[in-house]
C-alpha cells in the first residue's frame, strides 16, 4: 500500500472503521514506514487527548430546575392543545366567510347586470304601453273634446286629470355636443352619413375647415329620431377619441300640455264666437265678433306652431359633432420625417402602456384570487394537521 492511500485511510484505521483486510494492510505499512508511523502517533495522541477530556457534570440542582420548567411547558402544551383547534377552526370559518362573501359579491354583480337588462326591456315595454295609452287617450280625448266642446270648465277638469295621470307621454327634448379626435376626419364623416341613414336621421348642416398644419376640422349638426338617440351616441363614441361630450335633455311636458289645453280652450271660444256670428244681425256686432274671432284664431295658430316646433324637437334630437383629425393630411409619406420619430415614441409608449396594463390586470387578478389562496392555504394546513 502506498503512503498517500494510507494517509487517506489512517483516520479510519485509528477508529477501526475499516475492513479486516484494509486494517491488516495498513498495520503492515505502518510497521515499515516511519513517516506514516509518526503521522499515526501524532494523530492518535491528539485523539487520546480529546478522549481524556474530563467530562463536565451537570449541577445538582439541574434536575429541579428542569422539572419546574417541564411542569410549566406541560401546562402550556395542554392549554395550547385545548385552544389550538378552536382558533384554527375560527380562522378557517373566517376565511370561508370572506371567500363566500367575495363569491356572493361577484355573483351579485352579474345578477345586477341581468336585472338591469331586464329593467331596460321592461321600461322599453312600459314606454311602448305608454305610447299605446297616449294614443288611446288621444282618441278618447278626441271624443272627450267633441263631448266637451260646449263646456270649457269640463275641459279644464280634463286638463287637471291629465296632470294627475302618470301615464301621459312626457315631452323631452334631447341634444348632445360631442367633439372627437380621430386619425381621419373624412372617414368619420362618411360613417356619420351611414349612421344618419341607418337611423332615418338627416344632416342639418355641416362645415369643414383646415388649419395651416393641414389639420382638418369637420362640424356636423345631425338630426336623429329621439328614440335612437342613445344608440347613435354610443356608435359615435366608438368612432374615435372622445374629447368632450355634453348631453342635454329638457323636460317641456308642462309647457307642452299647457299650450295644448290653451288651444282647446281657444277652439271652444272660437266655436262660440262662430255661433254668435251666425246670430248677430247688425253690422257693428258682426264686426266686433269677427274682430274677436280673428284674434282667437291667430292665437290658436301661433300656439299650434309652437306645438309643431316642440313635436319636431321631441321627435328628433340634435347632435352637434366636431371631428378633429389628429394627424396632418400628409400627401407624400416620407419614411424619414419627424413622424418617424413620433411613431417610434408612440410604439414605445404603447407597448409600455400595454405592459403596465398587463401588470395591472395581473395584480387585480391576484387580488381576486387572494381569498381563494388563503382558503387553499388553510385547507392545506388543516390537511397537514389532520395527517398528524
Amino acid at each position: 500500500m502506498q503512503c498517500s492511500k494510507v494517509k487517506k485511510l489512517i483516520n479510519f484505521y485509528m477508529d477501526k472503521e475499516l475492513s479486516k483486510r484494509q486494517m491488516e494492510e495498513i498495520k503492515g505499512h505502518l510497521a515499515l514506514c516511519t513517516e506514516c508511523k509518526n503521522d499515526y502517533y501524532e494523530l492518535e495522541s491528539i485523539k487520546k487527548l480529546l478522549q481524556d477530556m474530563t467530562p463536565v457534570e451537570l449541577p445538582s440542582n439541574f434536575n429541579d430546575m428542569l422539572h419546574a420548567k417541564l411542569l410549566e411547558e406541560k401546562k402550556n402544551l395542554e392549554s395550547r392543545r385545548s385552544y389550538k383547534k378552536p382558533i384554527k377552526i375560527k380562522f378557517r370559518i373566517a376565511a370561508a366567510v370572506i371567500a363566500s362573501l367575495f363569491i356572493l359579491s361577484l355573483g351579485f354583480k352579474l345578477f345586477e347586470n341581468k336585472i338591469n337588462n331586464v329593467g331596460v326591456t321592461e321600461t322599453a315595454l312600459s314606454t311602448k304601453s305608454a305610447v299605446n295609452y297616449s294614443s288611446k287617450t288621444s282618441i278618447s280625448s278626441g271624443k272627450a273634446a267633441s263631448d266637451l266642446k260646449k263646456d270649457a270648465s269640463q275641459a279644464n277638469a280634463f286638463d287637471l286629470n291629465r296632470g294627475l295621470d302618470p301615464d301621459y307621454k312626457r315631452k323631452i327634448t334631447k341634444d348632445a355636443t360631442i367633439s372627437i379626435e380621430t386619425d381621419s376626419a373624412d372617414e368619420c364623416y362618411n360613417k356619420i352619413l351611414n349612421i344618419s341613414k341607418q337611423y332615418n336621421g338627416y344632416i342639418e348642416s355641416s362645415s369643414e375647415s383646415s388649419t395651416s398644419d393641414n389639420k382638418k376640422t369637420i362640424n356636423v349638426v345631425l338630426k336623429i329620431p329621439s328614440n335612437d338617440f342613445e344608440d347613435v351616441i354610443a356608435s359615435i363614441k366608438s368612432l374615435g377619441d372622445v374629447k368632450t361630450i355634453r348631453i342635454n335633455s329638457n323636460d317641456i311636458t308642462e309647457q307642452y300640455y299647457d299650450v295644448e289645453s290653451r288651444i282647446k280652450n281657444l277652439e271652444i271660444q272660437e266655436e262660440k264666437l262662430q255661433e254668435l256670428l251666425k246670430k248677430a244681425s247688425n253690422i257693428s256686432d258682426i264686426l266686433q265678433v269677427e274682430d274677436k274671432l280673428n284674434e282667437v284664431m291667430t292665437q290658436i295658430d301661433s300656439y299650434k306652431n309652437q306645438i309643431k316646433i316642440w313635436d319636431n324637437m321631441t321627435s328628433m334630437s340634435t347632435i352637434n359633432l366636431t371631428f378633429v383629425s389628429t394627424k396632418p393630411q400628409t400627401k407624400i409619406s416620407k419614411i424619414f420625417s419627424t413622424s418617424f420619430l413620433n411613431d417610434i415614441l408612440n410604439a414605445g409608449s404603447k407597448s409600455l402602456n400595454i405592459f403596465f396594463e398587463f401588470l395591472k390586470y395581473v395584480f387585480i387578478i391576484s387580488i381576486y384570487l387572494l381569498p381563494f389562496s388563503i382558503l387553499a392555504y388553510l385547507i392545506y394546513v388543516g390537511y397537514k394537521l389532520f395527517k398528524k
Binding site: 477508529d15 472503521e17 502517533y41 501524532e42 494523530l43 495522541s45 439541574f62 434536575n63 411542569l71
Partner: protein, 185 residues
C-alpha cells in the same frame, strides 16, 4: 419498565417518565453542548432548552432512530443556532496565551487548554464531528444521523478535521513532540 414504555408514557405528557429516560443522557448532552459553545453557563441553558424541546416535540419522535441520537441531534441544532446568533453579537475574543512555552506544555491543564482552543478555531462542522467522534465516542453512523448528513460526508469531515487540527497544533513549538512522547509512554 424499559425505555420504550417510558417514552410512550412520556409522549402522553408524563413528566416523571420523561425525566427517567433523559437521566441517562442529560450529562452527555451537556458535555457535547459545552464543547460546542465553550461556556459553561451557556451550555447549561442550552441543555435545558434541548431537553424542553425534546419534551415538547416528543410526539414527533417515531422511534426510527435511537432516542439518544435524536436527543444529540436536537442538542447539536440548538447549539449551532446559538453559535450562529452569538457570532453576530460578539466577536469571540482571541485570547493571546502567554503560557505556551514548551515547559508549560507538560502541564496537563495547559495542554488541554491549548487543544480546546485549537478545536474552537475549527470550522463548525469539523468541530462538531470531532466532538461527537473523539470526545463522545459515537459511531460514524450515529454522527451521520445527528448531523443529518451521510456517512461519506462524516468520514471526509473527520479526516479533514483531524489533519487540520494536527497541522495547527504542530505550529505550536514543541507541542506535538511533547504530546507524542507522552502518548508513547
Amino acid at each position: 419498565m424499559d425505555e420504550k414504555q417510558l417514552l410512550l408514557k412520556a409522549q402522553e405528557g408524563d413528566i416523571e417518565s420523561f425525566e427517567n429516560v433523559i437521566s441517562n443522557y442529560q450529562n452527555y448532552i451537556y458535555n457535547v453542548i459545552y464543547r460546542l459553545v465553550d461556556v459553561k453557563e451557556d451550555a447549561l441553558d442550552l441543555t435545558q432548552e434541548t431537553l424542553i424541546k425534546a419534551y415538547i416535540n416528543l410526539k414527533k419522535f417515531k422511534g426510527n432512530s435511537e432516542f439518544k441520537t435524536w436527543l444529540y441531534r436536537i442538542a447539536v441544532n440548538v447549539s449551532h443556532d446559538f453559535i450562529r446568533k452569538k457570532k453576530g453579537v460578539e466577536e469571540h475574543l482571541e485570547e493571546i496565551s502567554d503560557f505556551r512555552t514548551p515547559e508549560n506544555i507538560f502541564d496537563d491543564k495547559v495542554t488541554r487548554k491549548i487543544i480546546i482552543d485549537e478545536l474552537n478555531k475549527l470550522k463548525r462542522e469539523y468541530k462538531t464531528v470531532l466532538i461527537l467522534r473523539d470526545i463522545e465516542g459515537l459511531t460514524y453512523n450515529e454522527i451521520a444521523e445527528i448531523t443529518n448528513t451521510n456517512i461519506g460526508t462524516v468520514k471526509s469531515r473527520i479526516s479533514r478535521a483531524r489533519n487540520i487540527l494536527k497541522e495547527n497544533l504542530k505550529k505550536i513549538p514543541g507541542f506535538i513532540n511533547v504530546v507524542g512522547e507522552r502518548g508513547q509512554i
